[in-house]
């Protein structure tokens, strides 16, 4: 049995760890609230934009735009959005597990240090690496977006997909691959979503659509807005997921530390009591012997 001094030392160290995890939990909790609000508020806007985009894309078959036409995919372009820091549970591990399933040659762009580290460690092609602060600014995301669009236009990548952690609720976040370019793939995703929700898609209206001003002008505006907004929103979702995941992980750690301290304290008391009993026995034995 361990002696009392060792036990005391362990209790102290576990308590220290619990203090740190508890502090991290509180910080994450306050950040989580804000990040979740941002992510959820932006959702209807982004979804409506996607819906408009798809109904527009349907009816513009004869209009040639590099973003609308699928081309032969020689290399997929994938934007990976991860966290900068660790200690956030299985968040990044799950994300990378999804990443490993990506097939075919692909070029990667990363947002977040963990993604960049993973990509270079697993020797995948890393085209660029961006960092985004905790308080997401549109300007920060824009740099990444412009780089991606540029690469797509130049033909360095033939698709644009985003791998990120979709925020469902505080306990559940799932890694998702969201295809952005070309738009053909987007349509199938929207349809699937509609079916899942049991909604009748508004684009069932088969009549000719009217455009004001011309379709080209609208398309250009919408396309730009769409891609920027989507990526911005994805980053918001990823941040919300990160903070939620960290909050939960730190809460579990704090709770575990508490049970550990309780167990150790019980052990410590037992050892101490045993030592006292032992001593009394020895003293009484000695007095009998005299």
């Amino acid at each position: 049995m361990a002696n009392t001094r060792d036990l005391r030392r362990r209790i102290k160290s576990v308590k220290n760890t619990a203090q740190i995890t508890r502090a991290m939990q509180l910080v994450a909790a306050s950040k989580m609230k804000k990040a979740q609000d941002f992510a959820l508020e932006g959702r209807p806007y982004t979804e409506l934009l996607a819906e408009m985009m798809s109904s527009l894309g349907d009816r513009l078959i004869d209009y040639k735009h590099p973003f609308l036409e699928g081309r032969e995919v020689k290399k997929r372009g994938i934007l990976v959005v991860s966290s900068d820091k660790g200690l956030c549970g299985a968040l990044n591990a799950n994300l990378f597990r999804k990443l490993v399933t990506i097939e075919g040659p692909a070029g990667y762009v990363s947002i977040g240090r963990k993604a960049a580290q993973f990509l270079s460690r697993s020797q995948r092609e890393l085209l660029a690496d961006f960092t985004i602060s905790d308080k997401v600014q549109f300007a920060e995301v824009r740099v990444a977006v412009e780089f991606l669009i540029q690469s797509y236009r130049e033909g360095k990548i033939d698709t644009l997909e985003v791998l990120y952690t979709h925020f469902i609720n505080t306990m559940v976040q799932t890694p998702v691959i969201l295809p952005l370019l070309p738009f053909a793939e987007l349509k199938s995703i929207l349809q699937k979503k509609d079916q899942e929700a049991g909604r009748k898609s508004a684009s069932d209206d088969a009549r000719e659509i009217q455009f004001e001003p011309g379709p080209e002008a609208i398309l250009d505006e919408l396309l730009n807005l769409y891609i920027k907004q989507q990526i911005y929103h994805v980053v918001l979702e990823a941040k919300a997921s990160e903070h939620s995941s960290r909050m939960v992980a730190m809460k579990t750690a704090t709770d575990n530390a508490k049970t550990l301290v309780d167990d150790l304290t019980l052990d410590y008391n037992k050892v101490r009591q045993a030592a006292i009993t032992q001593e009394i026995l020895e003293i009484s034995a000695a007095s009998f012997a005299n």
Partner: protein, 137 residues
């Protein structure tokens, strides 16, 4: 067949109800939408959006954006939208002054264009709100 009107901004879903008709501030003039309208996708200019429902009219100030009419659904995607009854002119003026000041600074320092754009949006939307409100008073 009633119309379903949905107005969404980056911050929130401002409006989602069934209505009788809508007048949109399109870039090529105002467009009145009644049930059974031809499918339409239009860009919106900053201005007033009028909703009539059960014989009553509600006017909203909207910033630039897009509107889609498909089937019986009208979806409006705008940078900003607010019911003119809720516009507080003094607060709007203050916000505009702050944004203009920040904008002047930003231009002098050569700040990031996206941030400048954001400030310009605030200034523009404040003006729209003011105009809309004053006209109805």
């Amino acid at each position: 067949m009633p119309l379903i009107l949905e107005i969404v901004t980056p911050e929130e879903k401002v409006y989602s109800e069934t209505v009788d008709s809508v007048v949109l501030p399109g870039v090529e003039g105002e467009a009145g939408i009644l049930p059974g309208h031809v499918p339409l996708l239009t860009m919106l200019k900053p201005g007033e959006l009028t909703v009539s429902k059960d014989g009553q009219e509600v006017v909203l100030a909207v910033d630039k954006g897009f509107a889609q009419v498909l089937g019986d659904k009208v979806s409006v995607l705008a940078e900003g939208a607010i019911d003119i009854a809720e516009i507080d002119l003094t607060a709007v003026d203050e916000a505009r002054e702050r944004a203009e000041k920040a904008l002047a600074e930003a231009r002098a320092l050569g700040m990031d264009p996206a941030e400048v754009e954001k400030l310009e949006t605030i200034v523009r939307f404040s003006l729209v709100q003011k105009l809309a409100k004053n006209r109805r008073l």
